[in-house]
Every structure is written in C-alpha cells, then in structure tokens.
C-alpha cells in the first residue's frame, strides 16, 4: 500500500486499521512501512481516508511480493489455485468428497494466525520439520505448495526468503496412527519459530457428534488440549448427479 503524500492531510485515521501497525507519521503525514506492510488492503477497504490518499502499489503483484497479497488479503484470489483464501476447503465440504476418511485425520497448521503474520524463513522451519517427520505431501490444491522448492527437505524457494504473509495454511492428511508423531513435531518446532501458528485437527465424527476416542487419546497423550469451540460439518452436502468439469 502507498500513501500519496501530496494528498495526505495527516489526520491519522487510517493508522488504527492496519493489522500490523505499518502506517506511521512521517513529517506530519502518514506513511507506510513497506517492509512491514502485508498488502492486505484493509486500510484501503475501510474507506476511512477523507482525501483518497491511499492507493495500491503498482508493484504489489510483482513476484515474489505478490505472495503478500495472495496470503494476506482474503479478497485476493491466488493466481495458482484460483481459490480465494489461504487454504482449500478442508473440513468444510468433507461430507461431499470425503477427503478425510474414517481412519484418517486432516491437520491444518495456520501460520501467523492470529494477526501476527510470519516471515517465510520461519515458515521454512515448519516445512523442514514436517519433511523431516516424513510429511512431504501437502493437500494438492493448497497454495502452500507453490512456495515449496523441495518437498523432500521442506526447503522453500530461496527468492521468497525476504517475504512475509499474514496467514497461510499448511494442510496435510495422514492416517490416525501418524497423528502423535506430527503433533510431537509441531510441539518441538513451536520453540523455534519467532511467531505463532494455530493447529487444527480434522476428523470424521461418530454418531452423536462424538469425536473418536483414538483421536482424543492421541491429542491428550501429546500434551495438547482442544478448545471448547469447533467447526462442525453437519453432513447435508451431496454431489451433483452429473460430473462437473
């Protein structure tokens, strides 16, 4: 994001809207710290500027800076996947394709959430740890895939190392028996990263909205707890009779 200095009247109204405090006063006018800015567009969308001084940078979609936009602005559609947002449909439509089967779990690692964001060097610590733990396949349509240079090592593309994203979701699917190993890996890598990440576990339910005992036991054994709230697919979706293109 940029601020047209010739228009800015220095009211500072845009400043509180920035999730990462990238807008600051410089010579009685507002300016944007380009290093901090995630290109999320929140300040512009808020329409708070009384003189239309905010404008999108002409370099916003230049590679690799474009990653900031794709992973930080929910309104931006990722050029590679064609999906708006940071991840795929994960559990939200699992009742239709049954992506996560009865003996499997989906694991989503929401890097940078909530609100802090994460630089790609720290994300690489997670991808490397996961690769070392034997997780080399990420959900096919997940835009995370586009950042990875070598799935066997978890190395990201070197040109991305200076970039940051407000949130990205690394989604994997494994057998339930592998859940403990992955949770243990995440617990260790959490000590190394300089930001935060949220962990989600996606599992099929037993009748009566009952979480399978095997999943619960594993989560507890690895020293994790789960929040009282969760996202629940109610099982009302079905596939079209005619195959879609």
């Amino acid at each position: 994001m940029l601020i047209r200095k010739e228009r800015c009247v220095g009211c500072g109204r845009c400043q509180p809207y920035c999730p990462v405090e990238a807008i600051y006063f410089e010579d009685l006018k507002s300016d944007v710290d380009q290093e901090k800015c995630y290109e999320c567009g929140t300040c512009l969308r808020s329409q708070i500027c009384p003189v239309d001084a905010l404008e999108e940078s002409p370099y916003m979609f230049d590679y690799p800076r474009a990653l900031r936009k794709y992973f930080s602005d929910p309104n931006a559609t990722h050029a590679l996947t064609g999906i708006a947002g940071r991840g795929t449909e994960e559990s939200k439509t699992n009742d239709v394709p049954n992506r996560v089967g009865p003996d499997e779990v989906g694991i989503a690692i929401e890097v940078g959430r909530p609100t802090l964001g994460m630089d790609l060097r720290n994300i690489q610590k997670i991808t490397r740890a996961m690769a070392k733990a034997g997780i080399t396949e990420i959900e096919a349509e997940n835009p995370f895939n586009d950042m990875i240079q070598d799935h066997q090592t978890g190395d990201l593309k070197p040109e991305l190392m200076g970039e940051r994203v407000l949130s990205a979701i690394m989604e994997v699917k494994v057998k339930r028996t592998q859940l403990a190993h992955i949770l243990g890996t995440l617990k260790e890598v959490a000590k190394e990263v300089d930001s935060v990440f949220c962990v989600d576990v996606i599992t099929r339910l037993e009748p009566g909205l009952k979480v399978p005992a095997e999943v619960i036991r594993t989560i507890e054994a690895e020293g994790f707890t789960w929040r009282p709230n969760a996202k629940i697919n109610l099982g009302l979706g079905r596939t079209n009779k005619r195959k879609e293109s």
Binding site: N75, E90, N94, V96, S167, N233, N240, E244
Partner: protein, 215 residues
Amino acid sequence: MTHSLHREGPLDLLSQEYVLFIYPARGFNYEGSGPKSRRLMEMLYHQGPANMLVTTLRRNMYSGIPQEEILNSIKDGAKIYCVFNDREKIRKTLTRIMEMDEGISIMVSGVIDRVRDVAAEVGLKPHTINLSLGIHGRRDRLPPADIRQFTTMCGHGMVSPSLIRDVIRRVKTGKLDFWNGSIVIAGPCSCGIVNPYRSAEMLKDLVPLYTVNRL
C-alpha cells in the same frame, strides 16, 4: 478459511454464538449452486442473523449495500458466512435448511456441546469436526486476551488490535456508543462473521477498565 474455531472470549458469550457456513464443494456441486445459495441466503435474512456476507460481494450486513444487490451478486460457487447469537434462531435455521434440502455443505462453528445439542434436536447427523488445538509458538508477541476476544472474531486478522484500542478510546470519550463502536470493529472483516452484539457486550465490560490519554 475463517478461523472461526479459534474464536476467543468469555465462555458464556461464546456459548450463545453460532457461526454458519454454506459451502459448495469445488468439482462436486459447484455447478448450479448459485440459485441454491441464493434461496438459502434469502431464507437466512428471515432468521435474523447478527451478521452475514456472501463471498461474491464480501460486504457485511452493516455496510449499507442493499439486500437486492447482495443477492444479485450470487453466482455458482458463492459461499455464505453468517453468525447467530441465539440458540432458537440457529435451531429454526437448521430446520429450514433441512426442509429445503439443497445439498450444499453446511458447517456450524460453536461450542461443541451446544452444537451437539441443537444438531440432535433437529435430527442432524454431523459428519466431520475441525478441532482447535490452540495457538503455539511466540504467544508472548500476541495482543492481550481482552483484545484478542475481538480480533479473533475475524480469522484473517483484518481486525487490528489498534482498531479495538481506538474504538475503546472513542467510546470512552463519548464519540461512539457501544453499538456503533461494534459496527466499526466489524467493518474490516471480509468474512462477515464478526458478531457486533457480542462486541457490544464485551465493550461494555472492557471500557471501564481502560484509561484514556486525552492529550
């Protein structure tokens, strides 16, 4: 992804809140989903949601956009996100969704025990759960919990901690009331699931605890 499973806040307020998603599945029921989503959204307007948005326009209920314009924007693949702050409303909504039987995936995000209770009452058989195992890493860098209870209502992190502090300051100095402060907080969220009713309740609790520098 709306991050709704990681919403923080007092359990008594979270227990009253139900986030509902209508989500066509890419490659399975995307085609032809537009009219179905529109019918569902028209029905949702009658159930009195606390906030709502369709992804083809991404402007929430309080943005001033006329309903017709919002509904007319719906096309195949449109997803609808909304939030209710009343158990009876979500019960009636789920009953209507079952009657309409459009075949689109429906998710409800809320306190697990509460969702289990409502689902059983209306005869649903939930399929999959997405559990939150919490936040890990440098938690010391996060804003405090009293600010996070607002900011985590927007999963994409569009509601800034500075905006919450700014609204508290404006309410405290009489420039905004609790409700209008809540509408300001809901503005930046592109998922439309910031619940202004819960925000207003939380502001009432929080505002007396803050001091304001009037200089």
